[in-house]
């Protein structure tokens, strides 16, 4: 079925119930003897001057006319239904603790302690952390690696098939759609084989909001028939940072109440109406205008890819690398480019762009940079990025040096993340950790994909990679030690 047909919405997408209720609230000039204490900004003049009075006047608490996120029956419920309709989902939950909380809700609502879940190892830290909370057992599918670019790709169908065959008792398959670099798996096929094995498909679509509104982009989780999806509406959609959606397919209908209970275990009871209204207004914008908006974004990105490739030295890769397998489809709103062939690591280019040119891109790793294009881009900004890259090449470019190729190191898993996280452990300098089992994660952020996760052996390769990443200036995180020089490892008996 073509998405254009699905997109004939069942509900009136010109409505924005939370937005309207807040307008009404403002109009009534309600005198508040409830929280928040700044009372429409009056109690915090400096903050009101900084963020704007308009903004603080709707930073309000749940109340009758505004509904409540922990038990929506009014405008929030209406807004969630509209969002479900716009995204082709059976139901939808607004999330205000980020997509991290949506990912946790997907895993916690499907995995009981000890349940197996099939997932690629290059997941975001939020998924690994959810495994600790759920005490679930990850069955890692090593993603394929593009050796030239040094980036992990998506899961190939045959690897997922093999994992399903080996672990028929797994309860779910967890999929990134797309990966950070914009690589998508053959999602429809993965859904088919997972469902055939009676497993649910949970999709991390943190970077996939736009898939729901443009036919030229890879298939979205809901269109592919997945059971649940976490969508960061704030990432490429335009809502406020930290606001996000959890989408449920028709197969989840009987469990949607349970999913909500799971969400309420950890989600705030004081949901921000700034975030909620931003979800509502953004959904309306995308439903009404998303197709055109993302058509323009794709044009921008493709133009930038061509121009960057003409500079020489860079490889702004894209759809031409699709291989029908682990690089099944490409998100053309992403703008990754390979930098190492002109002697600069992605991190170096990232830093030069920020420090010298006042241009902030999403991240740089060993060999690549990633720029993200979204609803907010303009031609002048695209031109600035291209011109800066041209200038960097002529000013800083050099002969490519020897570099570490592996952007993905297959982990040696000894025990589950939860077992390792809660086991007795001791903090050691990184260099002394070789051979031990980690009880915490370590990663570059962004992208936030753990190099080492709890329960994995600290191998010489991992240590070499961490040293190299630090040397190149990556921002490391994940350890209790703020300086990321020490790591908690399991005490040896």
């Amino acid at each position: 079925m073509k998405r254009a047909e699905v997109r004939r919405f069942a509900l009136d997408q010109t409505k924005a119930p939370i937005h309207d209720a807040l307008l009404d609230y403002r109009r009534r000039r309600i005198v508040s003897f409830d929280v928040p204490g700044h009372k429409q900004g009056r109690g915090n003049e400096e903050l009101a001057a900084f963020l704007g009075k308009q903004c603080l006047s709707v930073d309000v608490n749940s109340m009758k006319m505004l509904d409540t996120l922990i038990h929506p029956t009014g405008v929030i419920m209406e807004a969630e239904n509209l969002a479900a309709d716009a995204f082709g989902a059976d139901s939808c939950r607004f999330m205000v603790n980020g997509t991290t909380s949506a990912v946790q809700a997907m895993i916690l609502s499907n995995c009981s302690p000890g349940d197996k879940i099939i997932m690629p190892r290059n997941v975001h830290r939020s998924a690994i952390n959810a495994l600790i909370l759920a005490r679930a057992v990850p069955i890692y599918v090593n993603p394929s690696v593009d050796k030239e670019l040094g980036i992990p790709l998506a899961m190939s169908v045959k690897d997922v098939e093999a994992a399903i065959r080996e672990h028929p008792d797994a309860v779910a398959v967890f999929v990134n759609n797309p990966t950070y670099y914009g690589v998508c798996p053959n999602l429809k096929e993965i859904v088919r084989i997972a469902h055939a094995a009676d497993m649910r498909v949970l999709v991390d679509e943190a970077h996939g909001t736009h898939f729901y509104f443009q036919d030229a982009l890879p298939v979205s989780a809901m269109d592919a028939g997945a059971d649940m999806s976490s969508v960061s509406l704030h990432k490429t959609g335009g809502s406020l940072t930290q606001s996000s959606l959890l989408l449920l397919g028709p197969s989840m209908r009987k469990d949607s109440g349970y999913v909500h209970q799971i969400i309420n275990l950890t989600q705030t009871t004081s949901a921000s109406y700034l975030l909620l209204s931003s979800l509502d207004i953004t959904r309306r914008n995308l439903a009404l205008r998303g197709e055109k908006i993302y058509e323009r974004v794709i044009e921008f990105a493709n133009y930038a890819r061509d121009e960057i490739n003409q500079i020489g030295g860079y490889d702004a890769f894209g759809e031409e690398r699709c291989d029908g397998d682990a690089f099944f489809a490409f998100d053309s709103c992403k703008l990754p480019f390979h930098t190492i062939k002109m002697g600069l690591s992605g991190i170096e280019v990232y830093d030069i762009l920020c420090d010298e040119y006042d241009i902030q891109i999403e991240f740089g790793d060993m060999l690549n940079c990633l720029a993200i294009l979204s609803v907010g881009d303009r031609p002048v900004a695209i031109e600035r990025l291209i011109a800066a890259l041209a200038d960097i090449r002529f000013t800083y470019g050099k002969e490519p040096a020897r570099h570490l190729v592996n952007e993905y190191i297959p982990p040696v898993v000894v025990m589950t993340p939860a077992e390792a996280f809660y086991a007795p452990s001791e903090q050691l300098p990184l260099a002394e950790c070789e051979g031990r089992i980690a009880s915490e994660s370590i990663m570059c952020y962004p992208p936030g994909i753990p190099i080492l996760a709890p329960g994995e052996r600290v191998t010489p390769e991992v240590l070499a990679y961490i040293r190299y990443a630090k040397e190149k200036g990556s921002r490391m995180t994940g350890t209790e030690d703020g300086a990321v020089e020490k790591l908690y490892v399991l005490t040896e008996k």
Binding site: Y357, V380, E383, R384, A387, A388, A390, F394
Partner: protein, 324 residues
């Protein structure tokens, strides 16, 4: 009824022009363009509510942005103008017979159309056979050029709006690659008196000085520009604006000017101390003239009255009444 056009030079200071008539007003793809007939300055071109030029004083800006680099470069053949849609810079350049090629890259074709119709004394040279006029983004054009020009003149609007990308490191960096050996870049360098202009001037200087071996700033007195005082940047890897300047060579050209002359050329590079401090140490005038009173006065543009100000004079009106 009297009609006045107000231009804000800062949030808290504006100048007014008495208008005889509005001659033109339209939004292009990039900006709002207006032409007024003023009593004092003749016709006036306004873009996004900022005065670009007037018939009465445009000669100062255009002579200074063109003749200074042209008097330093011993044998310029190819010149690039970025912006300059009104045609004034082009007019001055076309007076150099030995120039072989002038490329002008203006993003907004409506500016050129308007100039041709309403400013015939400014847009005089579009038909010169040496001129190639391109309508495209200046940054996009320049990043594709390598070793092509002897002089690049950046005749842009302010950094807020379509001119934004012409005040960036990537622009100057690419310009340096687009220049031939011994090339000179001259740009519109903002003013230094009012807070916002001054910040841009300082940041522009900071961005250009690492790119070129010689980075200089010179000044001119332009009545309609904020504070009547405007700066230009002069950058070159080879030429020094004074040491490599040969007044006799320029005077031999016999170009008749109303502002520029070779004595003024030397004087223009002598800067007031506060301008020097701004460019080299980043110190804004507002920071030196205001005694440090408190956060509510600095930064400017705040709207809060500082009741803690020790200099505040409270007038007791009852006392006045009592004493008659």
């Amino acid at each position: 009824m009297e009609l006045w056009f107000s231009e804000f030079h800062s949030t808290d200071f504006k100048v007014d022009f008495r208008i005889r008539k509005q001659l033109f007003g339209q939004y292009s793809d990039y900006q709002h363009i207006q032409v007024f007939d003023t009593y004092e300055f003749g016709r006036m071109l306004v873009m996004d509510n900022i005065v670009m030029l007037t018939e009465k004083d445009e000669f100062i800006y255009h002579e200074m942005i063109v003749h200074v680099p042209m008097a330093v470069h011993p044998n310029a053949e190819r010149v690039l103008i970025i912006g300059g849609g009104d045609g004034g810079t082009l007019r001055e350049l076309c007076r150099y017979d030995d120039l072989k090629e002038i490329v002008m890259v203006e993003i907004d074709s409506l500016v050129v159309d308007v100039a041709k119709v309403y400013f015939p004394t400014v847009a005089t040279s579009y038909d010169d056979p040496r001129v190639t006029l391109l309508f495209e983004d200046g940054l996009r054009y320049v990043r594709r050029c390598r070793n092509m020009f002897d002089v690049i003149i950046v005749d842009s609007t302010d950094p807020f709006g379509p001119g934004e990308s012409l005040f960036t490191k990537e622009f100057y960096g690419n310009c340096s690659h687009a220049l031939r050996d011994g090339g000179i870049l001259v740009n519109q360098h903002e003013g230094t008196f009012y807070h916002n202009d001054a910040e841009e001037a300082a940041s522009t200087y900071k961005k250009t000085s690492p790119v070129f071996k010689n980075t200089f700033v010179y000044q001119a007195h332009i009545p309609v520009y904020p504070a009547g005082h405007w700066l230009f940047g002069f950058m070159s890897d080879r030429y020094h604006p004074l040491n490599d300047f040969d007044p006799d060579r320029w005077n031999a050209r016999n170009i008749k000017t109303d502002y520029y002359n070779t004595d003024l050329h030397r004087g223009a590079f002598a800067l007031p101390n506060y301008v020097y401090r701004l460019l080299h140490d980043g110190v804004l005038l507002d920071q030196t003239f205001r005694r440090v009173i408190g956060d509510t006065i600095w930064p400017p543009n705040g709207d809060t009255l500082n009741t803690e100000d020790e200099d505040r004079v409270d007038i007791d009106f009852s006392e006045i009444e009592k004493n008659g």
